[in-house]
Amino acid sequence: MAINTSNSNVATRENRIGSITGYVGTLKDLASKSECGTLKGCARCFSQSSTCLSMCGLSQLAGIRDVAIIHHGPAGCSVTSAGSYYMSRVMAKKRGVTSSTVYVGTDMNENDTIFGSTATLREVILEVNKRYSPKAIFVSSSCATGIIGEDIDSIVDDVREEVGVPIVAVHCEGFKSRIWATGFDISDHAVLQGIVQPPREGVKTNKINFKNFFESARPEIIEMFKQFDLDPVFLYCNSTVEELSHLSESIATTCICGTLGNYLGNALEEQYGVPYVRSINQCGIVGFETWLREIGKVTGRSEKIEKYIEEQRAIYIPQIEEIKKELKGLTAVLGMGPGYTFEVSRVLDELGIKVVWALAWHYDKKYEDGNVPPSMKYLLDNDIDFEASVADQQNYEVMNILNKYKPDMYLSRHPGSTVWAIKNGTPAIYVADEYMIFGYKHTLEFAKTIVDAIKNRSFEENLAKRSKLPYTDWWYKQNVDTFLEEVK
C-alpha cells in the first residue's frame, strides 16, 4: 500500500494491514486463513493490562541523539521521560558518544481538558528549543489531548519557521490501536516525514540501514559487514539527525525484527527505491544464512557472503550439533511479539526442542508489501505446525496454557512476563536482547543458556513452592479462549 508522508497520521496496523490481537487455534490454520483473507480476529470481554503504543513510538524517537520529544498530555503519559533520560545517557556512554536528548511533558490538568492548552504547548515548544537547541523536535499527542481535539498539527506548522529545525507532529493516542507496534510505525512515519531527505545527487555509498532496538551486537556486525564492504547504520538508538536525513541514500534496509522494521523498510523502498531485505530474521542457523544470502542478492555481494558462511559454519556447526544432543526432546511454550514468536519457534525446531504452544502478542496478516510475513511462510513451507494463539500479552491466557501443558521452558521477550512462568514452576528464559539468538555464535550461546536454565531449577522451585498464584481454580479449568468474542 502507498505510504503517505504528507499526512502526520498513520493508519493503525488493524486498518492498514489487517492485524489482529485475538485468536486461538493452530499455526497452519492461522496462516492459511491469512493467506486466503478469511482471518477475523477476536476481541476480549476480559483483559489485563498490556502496552501503550506511545511508549513504543516515543521511546524509539527518544533514542535519537540530541532531539526533543514534547509529550502533550497529563503527567502519566510523559512518565516515559524518566526512563528515556536514563536510556539516552547510558546508551550514549556505552557507545562513547554524548546525547542531550530531552523528553518533556506538559502536565495537562482538568482545566486544560475544558479550555484547551495549545497556547501553552506553543510556549513549551519554543522554550524547549531555546533551552536545548535540539536538532529535531517531535510533538506528540496523548489520549486526553486527542479526544478533546487539541490541534497539534497547526501548532507545529505555526512554529516551524521560528524553531528552524525539523519539527513533526506525532499522533500517539493510546486508544487508537490495540497493537503497540503501531507505535513503531508512528515513529518511522515521523522520521520519514520530518527528517529523511531525498538522496543527494552523485553520492555513492556502501551504507546499509539496520533497524534494531539497542545495538548490543553493533561492534561484531560492523566487523562482519566490513568483510562484505558494507557499512551498517544502526537505527534509532544513538542515531543522529544527520545520519537519518541520509537514509534514502543507503543501498538497502534490513532489520532485526519484522514488526519493528517493516514500515520504514517498505517506505524507503517505495519512496526512494532503497531495497528492503525481505527475509526470515537472523535468529538461528537457517535464519542467519537466509538473511545473509538475501543481503548478498540485494547488494550484489553473494560471493563474499558465501565465503563467510562457509568459514563460520566450520567453526560453529559442530558445536551447535553437539549441544543439540542435550536439548533433544525438551518442550517449550513461548510468548512474544509476532516479529519474534514465529522466528524463535523456527530456531527451537532447529535445535530439536518441541514447541507445544506459541503465543504471539499480535499477528500481522500481511506486511506492507501485501505478502504474509516471511517467518510464517517459512514455517508453512517446511510443514512445521503447533498450537498457537494471538494473545495480546494476556498473562491469564499464558498461565492457563503453562498450567495445562507444563512445558520444560517458557520463553518470553516482554517485561513482567517471566516471573509468572517461574511462579508456576516453569523455567523461563528472557529473550530480551534482540541479538540473543543472532547468527551462529549467539545461537550457540542461546542453546547453552537453555541448557543452563533447565539444569538448575532451584530459583524456580524455591519461589514456586512459596508463592501462591493470583488466578482462581475456576480460571485454570476454563478453555483459554473463554473470553474471546467474535468481532462484529
Binding site: R44, C45, F46, S47, Q48, S49, S50, T51, C52, L53, S54, M55, H72, G73, P74, A75, G76, C77, S78, V79, S81, A82, G83, Y85, Y86, R89, V104, G105, T106, D107, M108, N109, E110, D112, S117, T120, L121, E127, V128, S142, C143, A144, I147, I148, G174, F175, S177, R178, Q393, Y396, P415, G416, S417, V419, W420, K468, P470, Y471, T472, W474
Partner: protein, 432 residues
Amino acid sequence: MAKLLDKQRYKCALGAMQSVQAITRALPILHSGPGCAQKLSESIGSSGYFSPNIFPCTSINEKDVVFGGVKKLNSTIENALKVVDADLYVVLTGCIPEIVGDDSGEVVSRFEDSDKPVIYAPTAGFKGNNYKGHEQVVDAIVEQYLKKSEKKQKGLVNIWADVPYQDLFWLGNLRELEKLVSELGLIPNTIFGYNRGIENINKIPEAEFNLLVSPWVGLNNMKKMERKLGIPYLHYKTLPIGATETGKFLREVGKFAGVDEQKVENVIKEHEDYYYYLIERYADLFLENRVINKQFTLVADAQYALGITKFLANDLGLVPAKQFVVDDTPKNRREEITAEFKNLNFGLEAEVSFETDGYKIHEEIKNHDYHGYPLILGGYYEKELTESLKGNFLNISYPVQDKVVLDDSYVGYTGGIRLIEDIYTVAVQRFN
C-alpha cells in the same frame, strides 16, 4: 494549567494503582487505555502477588471513546471477580472515561452485593499527580468501605506515611515507624506491605488516633477520617531521620498518646547510646575526608527534602544550600512546609523552592556557590549535573537508577545510620 514538565519526577493520579498494589491482595482494575499500567510501573518490587500485567484493564479503544466504555467496565469487573483471587478490588479510572463521561461509579455500585468488596477511585491523569491519586485511593477506602466503630482498641494507632513505590523506601520506612511507635507501648496499624491488608483496613476505625508522618500527603485523608470515623489525628510533618529528629518524633507522639514521659526518655536513651557509639567510631571519617563539604542541596519530594535537610543540618552539622521540593505540593500547604525548613538548629534557615521545572533547578544549582564540592541528594537527573560540578551525588528520590532497595529504610535511628552509610559510600570512592 499545562506547563513545561522538564525532568519529570512524578506520575499522574492513575499512578495510585501502585498504592493499591502495595496493599497485599488488593487488586487495581483499570478503566483506561491498554498501556497505562505498564507505563506507570517500573521494576522496583512490582512482581509481587499481583503485578501490573495482572491488573484487569478495560483497554479502551476507539469505539469505546465514541460509544462509552461502561459495558466493558462491567464485564471486566465481573470477570475479574471470577479470574483473579483478591480481597479488595479497586476500580481506578483513567483520562478517557472521565472525559467521555462514563458513569464508572454507577457501574461499580452494581457490585455492592458481591462476595468481595469493589470500590472506586476517580484517578484521571489530568486530575493531579500520583501523590494526589494516593489520597484518592485512601479516600475511596474510607468513604466506600469503612464504617465508624463504637469499639476502640486501647493504644491502637494507624500510621500513614508517603506514597508506596514513588518512595523507594516505603516498605522499610513504614516498618521502622511501626517499630518506633510500638516501643512507646502503642499498637501500630498500617495497611501497606507484607502481612498487612484487608484485616488492617478493617481495624482502622478502632484506632485511638491516626498518625500522619508526611509534610502534606494524606492530610486530606486524616481530615476525612476525623469527620467520618471520628478518629483524631496527629500530623507530624518531618520524616524523622537520625537521633535528633527521631527523639523529637518520639516525644511528640508520646505526648499526644499520653505515654509516660520517663518511658519515652528511656526509649530515646537506649537508641541514642548505640547511635552515638557508631557515630563516635566514624566521626574521624566525617571530619577528615576531603570530599564532603558543608553545603548540600536536596532535590526531592517534600518528605525527603524536609526530612533529610533536618537530618543533615541537625545531626551531622551540615549547612543547607537551597532545597528543591519537586512534588507539586499544593499551594495552600507550602507556607507551613517552608516554615519547617526555617526551623533548624542554631537559627539556621534553609531556603526552599517549590519547583517542578528541572531545568530551572539545575541552573540554580550550577549558579550556587557551594564553596567546595556540592553534596546533592536527588533524582537520577542530578547525577550527570553533579558529576559536571565534581560534586557528590546520592540518588534518593524518583527517578532512581543508582540503587536497588528491597526493604531498606531512611527512618529513625537505623535509617539515619543507613543514610550516612550511603553518603559516605559515595565519598570514599574518591580521594579529593
